[in-house]
Amino acid sequence: MAMEPMIGLEVHVQLATESKMFCACSTKFGAEPNSNVCPSCLGLPGSLPVPNRKAVEYVIRTGAALNCSVADHCRFARKNYFYPDLTKNFQISQYDEPLTYNGYIDLKVNGEPVRIRIRRAHLEEDTGKNLHLASGSTLVEYNRGGIPLMEIVTEPDFTTAEQCREYLTQLRLILRCIGVSTANMDEGAMRAEPTVNLNDRATGEATPKVEIKNLNSIRSVYEAVKYEISRQRKAVAEGREGELFQQTRRWDESNGVTALMRRKETSDDYMYFPEPDLVPLEPDPAWVESIVSSCPELPAARCERFCTEYAIPEYDATVLTESRELADYFEDACKAFEGAAKTVSNWVMGDLTSLLHEAGVSIAQSPVSCERLAELLKLIDENVISGKIAKDVLAKMFESGKSAAEIVKEEGLEQISDTSALESVIDEVIAENPGPVEDVRGGKQQAIGFLVGQVMRKTQGQANPGMVNEMLSRKVKGEG
């Protein structure tokens, strides 16, 4: 039988609001334990939740980016369970009436287009944190409890670990681009839980579903899904299907395996019911429309446009669209430069990026503005300075905040394009290198490169290489 992996992904995203979902406590990461807690998120009697408008807006914005419909009417629900990470013994979530639903995302995996359906993106509150002590007790703190959390659930449309990786990569780019979350997996701002099983689409025969937890990077999701597929395939191939059962497994990063956490004998029973402390949401259509229409161009679309509009390689476009700020910088620099976009992309991805990296600053805080970079590139195009000298000029611009023209003028770095000035240097080089000169005369064209190099050296790189080449050729052949 032809068993194919069937994988669904549930992703939890902390929304980048200033205050919590249902109270005014701060969402700041890394605060002193239990310092961002109030009667409401502590679940004290008499306190009432009030939803954060920004969080609702962020979910609508995400839904729009994922081609979802926005509910015209929806409610919050209580998800009831007992665990110390909840102060109220229930989590305010959404159940049968999610805020956004029925969307999709188009991916490209190994050159193949793949469409993943999004079942829903809904709103809920995050839980507190438990700290298990070796002594046998558990410490709990609720700074995280009540932070707005968006849950994005896909249909089980993935068939490979590569697709899962690409989905999470794109999703993270989108969430950052539309500004709803930092989406940092290592800080827990984005958490992914895959559900993996094998399925025979013809007969409907399937292995029991396995949920994987404890994944804190896209890479670990990829590795864990890959491992889990092969674990289940192996059991089926060896006729050990009976050993597979519905369960939750934990990814063990150091050993590169998934390990049993708990068996799932019955489906979870959370006794959901509508949250009576909150009134229904009926997002105003005009508000929804303004959120949808202000949605920026998404990274995948922008990447494609960069390839066609600027005629830059796909690799360049991919790197440049990894952050909205970087992509904006590139586009603005292209506009100001008006020259070849590939030149801009080379400088942005190369020298500028390494300078930023060394200084530990983001592109948004670059001391060299896109206009200033364009000025530098114009100086190269106009043969005022060579590309080689431009590298030093950029470093000096970065350090001093001065313009390219100022630095070139101050340090006398203009390219020597003056024929008479070059002539004496070229004559010197010809006189000093009779061997290579003979080689060129004898038809060995590559020897001219050596002579050009000598001229560049004598002029500290300031000679115009095109002119040097031309003048040298003429002189060596006795034409000048």
């Binding site: 609001t17 200033e18 205050s19 109270c23 005014a24 406590c25 701060s26 002193e32 334990p33 239990n34 310092s35 961002n36 807690v37 109030c38 009667p39 502590l42 009030v50 939803p51 954060n52 408008r53 920004k54 969080a55 609702v56 409610r75 009831n80 007992f82 665990y83 110390p84 438990n130 700290l131 298990h132 046998g136 007790s137 558990t138 410490l139 709990v140 703190e141 609720y142 956490m261 029973d269 006794m271 019911f273 509508p274 949250e275 009576p276 909150l278 009134v279 229904p280 949401l281 009926e282 997002p283 105003d284």
Partner: protein
């Protein structure tokens, strides 16, 4: 309405973290049956055209703006806790979900 099945009472008591004796389960099978019987009267009403009500006041879209306000101090947060350690709540060890 007959008595509620024994395994249903057991399931509900597990969800509610209630340890019931065998006698209590016997009694609850009967009592829960009577409660459901009472609630069952509502089934006679035709509610096809009525949307489920979760809030009795006809009100929608109550929001607060995203502004940080006052929180309690960690000392106040744990003040009512049966047990605490520094600014943490201290609870018996739980099995990781």
């Amino acid at each position: 309405m007959p008595d509620v099945a024994r395994d249903v009472v057991e399931h509900v008591s597990t969800l509610a973290r209630l340890a019931l004796s065998s006698e209590e389960i016997d009694r609850l099978q009967h009592e829960m049956g009577r409660i459901l019987e009472h609630a069952d009267k509502l089934q006679a009403v035709n509610t096809d055209a009525i949307q489920g009500t979760s809030h009795v006041i006809p009100m929608i879209n109550v929001y607060r703006e995203d502004q940080v306000g006052e929180s309690l101090t960690p000392e106040e947060v744990v003040a009512n806790a049966p047990d605490s350690a520094d600014e943490f709540f201290k609870v018996p060890r739980t099995v990781e979900e």
